[in-house]
Amino acid sequence: MADALADLVHLAAARGATYADARSVERDHESVGMRDGEVEAVTRTADRGVAFRVIANGAWGFAATDRTGEGPLRGLLDEAFRRAAASASTRTKPVTLAPVPPQRGEYRTTLARDPFGVPMNERIALLRAADAELRGPNAKTRRASVAAYRTRKRLVTSEGTDVSQEIVESGAGVAVTAAKGGARPAQRYDSRLTRQAGWEFIEELDLVGRAARYRQDAEAMLDAPLATARPTTLVFAPEFLALLVHESCGHPTEADRVLEYEVAFAGTTFMWPKDRGTLRYGSEHVSMTADATVPGGMGTFGWDDDGVPAMRTKLVDKGTFVGYLTSRETAGALGIPVAIGSARAEGWQHFPIVRMVNVSLDPGTTPYPELLAGVENGLLLDAPASYSLDDKRQNFHFSTQSARVIRSGALEGYVRGVAFQSLTPDFWGRCDGVADDWELHGFLSCAKGEPLQLMRVGHGAAHARFRDVPIEVRA
């Protein structure tokens, strides 16, 4: 395959491409799903193919196939040039790539135990143990799952880059729906239990203890009184904030939104180049970092799909917007250096576009109990349920799976029906403290692009406190 990739790139250069890259991707996945104590299915997936990009006459052309014989690969070359020619017929400015030195090397996930090697009986036994803890008098449906993912890829470019990567990820999930009488069902489920790691991550998760906690939350929410609609102090658990960071900071700092590449579908941003260094995004407690080097992060790699090595950069510094997620193309178009390589493609079928890596809320220095002690009257929101955002990532609405009352710094019972809508800078401007209990979460399926690409991304966060957030309540 390495020779075939190099051949494609050399042939493209000979035909006049000013840039070309060829990328082979092999993806494997195994999962076991359990529903109500029964194994639903054991699934194994394999997916292999080759992607090929050229810049010819100043425009991109891209073609990809899962047929890797000589004929189909030659067909890729022809189709990519046809597409570049078609693109060039409308372009007024040529594509310019920000410079990056040629890269060579290999990257492999560090793991203690290969999740693909764990005996099926052991995986099923863990799910059965978790399922047993999900059982309860009102638990109507129970689900548990474990999964393993492996991606092997190689990128060869006409600029001399030749890099190989093997990325292994492990994930698990538990979910319970409780219902009683005519009451609205209560659901509690994990959102983000994935890590670039081996089976050791699954063992660290304490899936059984987590299942018991989720069942208890769901049962308690069934009997909980309705919350009262009012402005109040909200404390968010890291799992909830991970999604808030993703939606309200990660997406609006994607540079392709600035260039309106996503305007007709995913939307644009409210964080424009003229705002860098001046836009007040949040309070002084709010700093956010994009980092493709975080150990175990779902957005961690050796190189992105432009061949840019893993980097780290600030997006928000003490409340001020300072940086973007970029590809070589978008950095070139904006006239800025590549501060972080974020060009990523879900699979061989996909053109690399600007995606998040690991985008995190930086930890504070306050211990969580101290943060909680500063709340006279408020709510702790553990995990998001529904969420919806506008096309600029400015106007958002979130509801929660569970909400607990905080009174005089102590956690009390549950309330239900809590949701809130806000504007991004207003919301983050209300943050008056971030705890020091930073933890990493992983998302499997950030959706963006046409065709749709589901990307793995990582988000770290700690508990954080927000003052006077208006909440709405639905029965």
């Binding site: 029964e38 299915a41 600029k392 639905r474």
Partner: protein, 457 residues
């Protein structure tokens, strides 16, 4: 694209199934050639073609199910996939709810032919020409962005009970978002068809330009209940929420659906009738599902009365019903049936009549990133975009900043006053492949839509 055809796709499946080491087995093949050209600032910035084959092999040993997915149609790889699936099944546990693979049966109706030869031959130059036509129709002071998509698929299913089915489909899509260079304003339009000659680039551009020209000097709308006109794309978004929360047998069974315990009861207004009808000639669908069951027309809500959901084989068995042919790829859809070819009965009201019927209200072109804070009530929340207008005395009078809408679909449809003629549309999520729901859907005028907030100007 050169189609592989029924014989080429089904022969290796039949061969692989002949000696399968399992009690039962089936294989579904989905080949997809997607040519997607995206443009912005009236210039193409992404031009991609991918040709992929997805194979899903299921082997069942003693009611335990093993699944292996690959993208190879090589006979040796298919046999290996089935053998691996059988091994996985042996390591698994029996599923008492397993319904068995589908038996052969004739089509209940004459299925629509969702394939157009000319569309399958569209090339990169033709897609660029369509985009150039859109951009040329946009006047100075405005710019265009959007997507041209041509998709050709082949589906084949075979199993150990003798099912062997094949169908190709085509889809052509063109969207245009027009933005002003001088003020904050945008307009949107799209065409969607099984045939490339169903796309009208100049017409799409004209509709988007007209919206953009009106969308200037926006004002904010106070939260509250308003009469409203929902255009087709906005209605499709509401129907999506109904589909994913409440139209599958599984959601009814698990108590998550608005239909749970209410089948046969009035759930919304009598002007609302909804079907899932993959056989309707206006929609796009192969005539069978991924299990090989013929797709059937299902009346979901009849003049406001809940009639029942769609089923795959497992949810049908669990509910004591018969599969309606709505099994879907489990890697993309929740299990239990997927209502993906919705047909909402329309009317004859023109756009002028719809707007003219509203004394004081809002016109909504489309939504962005919707979700459901209350699935059981089919409640949707989402912000509008690219054409939200104030209607006063039956006329559009002002452009509005995008608003947040939050309301139960059942409450919204209970207030339908007028319906216009249907057209084929997809919701925001489906338009780029996040699930796939085709809606043959009318624009509507309603007496009450709940607006819960406004974006900044």
């Amino acid at each position: 694209m050169i189609l592989r055809g029924a014989d080429a796709l089904l022969a290796p499946l039949r061969d692989a199934l002949r000696d399968v080491p399992a009690d039962e087995a089936d294989i579904h093949v989905h080949r997809r050639r997607a040519a997607i050209t995206r443009y912005s600032h009236s210039s193409i910035h992404q031009n991609a073609l991918s040709d992929e084959t997805q194979v899903r092999a299921r082997a069942i040993v003693g009611k335990a199910v093993g699944i292996v997915q690959t993208n190879s149609l090589d006979p040796g790889d298919l046999r290996r996939a089935l053998a691996d699936a059988a091994e996985l099944a042996k390591k698994s546990r029996p599923d008492d709810g397993w319904p068995g693979v589908a038996a052969p049966e004739p089509d209940p109706t004459v299925a629509s032919a969702s394939f157009d030869e000319a569309t399958s031959r569209v090339d990169a130059a033709a897609q660029a020409s369509a985009i150039a036509a859109v951009c040329a129709a946009v006047p100075p002071g405005m710019r265009a962005a959007g997507t041209s998509q041509i998709e050709v698929t082949e589906d084949a299913v075979a199993n150990t009970r003798g099912v062997a089915r094949y169908a190709p489909t085509t889809m052509a899509y063109l969207r245009a978002l027009v933005l002003s260079d001088q003020y904050v304003g945008s307009g949107y339009a799209e065409d969607l068809s099984m045939r490339v000659d169903g796309l009208d680039p100049v017409g799409v551009a004209a509709r988007a330009v007209e919206k953009c020209a009106r969308d200037r000097d926006r004002t904010q709308l106070a939260p509250g209940d308003y009469a409203a006109v929902f255009e087709e794309l906005a209605v499709a978004e509401i129907l999506r929420i109904m589909s994913i929360t409440g139209l599958s047998g599984q959601s009814v069974r698990e108590g998550r659906s608005f239909m749970t315990g209410r089948i046969g009861e009035r759930v919304t207004g009598e002007r609302f009738t909804l079907l899932d009808d993959p056989t309707d000639g206006h929609t796009i669908a192969p005539p069978f599902d991924v299990e090989g069951t013929p797709k059937r027309k299902v009346v979901l809500v009849d003049r406001g009365v809940a009639k029942g959901p769609v089923y795959d084989r497992a949810s049908a068995k669990a509910m004591g019903a018969r599969s309606t042919g709505h099994a879907a790829d489990p890697t993309r859809y929740a299990p239990g049936g997927h209502a993906g070819n919705l047909v909402m009965v329309g009317g004859e009201a023109t756009r002028e009549h719809l707007i003219g019927s509203v004394e004081h209200g809002v016109l909504i072109t489309r939504f962005h990133y919707t979700n459901t804070p209350d699935p059981r009530a089919a409640t949707m929340t989402g912000t509008t975009r690219d054409g939200t207008f104030l209607i006063e005395d039956g006329k559009i009078t002002r452009a509005l900043a995008n608003v947040r809408y939050t309301m139960s679909a059942l409450d919204l449809f209970a207030g339908i006053q007028l319906l216009g003629p249907q057209r084929l549309a997809r919701d925001w999520w489906s338009s780029n492949g996040m699930g796939s729901i085709y809606c043959y859907v009318p624009p509507i005028a309603v007496s009450r839509a709940t607006i819960t907030g406004s974006s900044p100007l």
